[in-house]
């Protein structure tokens, strides 16, 4: 069954895998990949918070790094934000399909995902403006940045 059919009722393991898959796909397919941090999937919570605070500041939203870090530490709050970012991805069927494939790949790995990569997903959802899919299709993703920023503001 497609993982998107379950949205938003995911087990903790499923959500961690899906968030990891979504973040990896956004990074791999980003048209502006060279402007992104290559280590974004391995970024510490502190560094991700700093980057998110900076991005919000560019949109005239005042949030301190500590505020965002506290939010990312709160698993329930960061899960809600991740679900909102995933909802944005879900709007684009081609992109969603690619994320579902990546999720299946991760599910077949004989390892678990130990942390929710909320910081990475939110950062990528804000910074990736356009994605280029392997088949040649392109998806404009810039509108999603505002939705994710709004979710962050609401939840922090």
């Amino acid at each position: 069954m497609d993982i998107w059919m379950k949205y938003p009722n995911y087990s903790r393991d499923d959500l961690r895998l899906l968030v990891r898959a979504a973040a990896a796909v956004l990074y791999d397919t980003a048209a502006n990949k060279e402007q992104l941090d290559a280590g974004v999937l391995d970024m510490s919570r502190r560094v991700a918070s700093k980057n998110l605070a900076r991005d919000l500041q560019l949109s005239q939203i005042d949030r301190r790094t500590e505020q965002i870090e506290a939010f990312l530490t709160n698993e329930r709050a960061s899960e809600s934000a991740c679900l909102e970012a995933l909802a944005e991805i879900r709007k684009y069927p081609e992109l969603a399909k690619r994320v579902a494939e990546a999720y299946d790949g991760l599910k077949n790995r004989m390892t678990g995902i130990e942390t929710l990569l909320a910081g990475a997903l939110l950062l990528l959802a804000i910074r990736v403006k356009k994605v280029t899919l392997p088949g040649g299709g392109e998806v404009d993703f810039y509108e999603s940045a505002d939705a994710v920023k709004n979710a962050l503001v609401r939840l922090t």
């Binding site: 903790r12 393991d13 973040a23 990896a24 391995d42 790995r109 004989m110 130990e114």
Partner: protein, 393 residues
């Protein structure tokens, strides 16, 4: 093909302060050549580039890019010239320092050439001492292997040593709860043996393994691996937890007594189980203290079971190397994240080649990987993850 006719080379690495050296010993002639393969200042930063792919922190495209560059571009700078390796059927690699964990079997030694692990039998041994210990405890070598004949194309062995017959297989998917799938893989492996037992992954697996492993020719564990920041805490994730475990201990003056014991280590708090129940972990340190085995092969089919870390004194600690330390002749493990779909195909083929065709283990793994890569175009990270340690026979 006779085992005695196989040409075996030992590649012993030495990381100096300024340069990386490798000694290549031809076990047939006893001739040893030493090569300076490069400057540490150049090679060590490159080796560090592999870290995200090995640790699974890079994206899928990044991972394949890292492995592709390593395999086809700079990886060959870690090895002696291609010509010096051409005559060997089997390579025994003895890494040193930062060379531990570097998947040299994924390297194409020449341009337009297949990776080493698909061309030759490749086995890693943590140290020279381990190499001689593993070989000396191998029952297959007891009567000599020079006349042992095997075929690469059909199961027609002659004068092969006794086939290992008893296998104990454990299967447990504590994270995703797909126990049946893992059990199927364990069952297909156990079925290669005349006496294969599958433990279905419930109850006190960890301690049961410790009780039973001593009397089996082969032990196979299909589960999730856990690569901890502290290497001794890395382990095999099994379960669910059954509370106290019972094992036998030898009390001087009393003989063997039953002993109820708590699990050695706690299940990692960051790992979520599919049903929210506590699982169990069999850690490296538990193996070190409580386990002993005489298995000819321990197959640890799970992520990062062959991955490890250097600790003080230059010792490389991994689950796989710890199994060698407690008596296993050889260990088949995953050097990073194993895809269960690939494991389902490669691992039973490897066991079939080893047990039915009676190919030496390193050749059996090469053949199983070759068959898999020929069948479907697999990314390097999917096939090169399977790593053989210990004795190659």
């Amino acid at each position: 093909m006779r085992v005695g006719d196989l040409s075996v080379g030992i590649l012993a690495f030495f990381v100096g302060q300024r340069n990386l050296y490798v000694a290549l010993c031809d076990t047939g002639t006893g001739r040893t050549s030493t090569f300076r393969v490069g400057a540490c200042s150049d090679l060590i930063p490159r080796i560090e580039l592999l870290s995200p792919a090995l640790a699974g922190t890079s994206s899928e495209a990044q991972t394949e890019d890292i492995f592709h560059r390593f395999s086809t571009e700079w990886g060959r700078h870690l090895l002696p010239p291609a010509g010096s390796l051409a005559c060997f059927d089997v390579l025994v690699l003895l890494p040193h320092s930062v060379m531990h964990g570097v998947p040299l079997h994924a390297v194409c030694v020449e341009q337009q050439c297949a990776p080493l692990g698909l061309m030759r039998g490749v086995v890693y041994v943590p140290s020279g001492t381990d190499a001689s210990r593993c070989a000396s405890r191998n029952p297959a070598r007891k009567r000599g292997v020079s006349s042992w004949e095997f075929s690469l194309s059909k199961p027609n062995p002659r004068l092969a040593p006794r086939k290992p017959s008893r296998c104990f297989a454990v299967a447990s998917d504590v994270i995703h709860g797909d126990n049946q799938r893992y059990e199927r893989l364990a069952t297909s492996i156990a079925a290669c043996f005349d006496n294969g037992v599958v433990w279905p992954g419930r109850g006190r697996d960890g301690l049961n393994v410790s009780l039973i492993a001593q009397s089996f020719d082969s032990l196979c564990v299909v589960c999730h691996g856990y690569d901890a920041a502290t290497p001794a805490k890395s382990g095999l994730l099994l379960g669910p937890s059954g509370g106290y475990g019972h094992r036998k201990i030898l009390l001087p003056g009393f003989g063997w007594c039953g002993f109820a014991d708590l699990p050695f280590g706690s299940f990692p708090a960051t790992v979520t189980t599919h049903n929210d129940e506590q699982g169990e972990i069999v850690t490296v340190e538990e193996l070190r203290l409580l386990f002993e085995t005489h298995a000819e092969l321990v197959a640890l089919i799970g992520c990062s079971t062959a991955a490890g870390s250097l600790i003080r004194g230059g010792e490389y600690v991994s689950l796989a190397s710890q199994w060698l330390g407690i008596g296993a002749v050889s260990v088949l493990g995953g050097a990073w994240a194993v895809d269960v779909r690939v494991a389902e195909s490669v691992v039973p083929t490897f066991f079939e080649r080893w047990l039915e065709w009676r190919q030496p283990k390193a050749i059996a793994l090469r053949e199983a990987l070759r068959e898999e890569v020929t069948k479907r175009a697999l990314p390097i990270s999917h096939w090169a993850v399977f790593t053989l340690l210990g004795d190659w026979v």
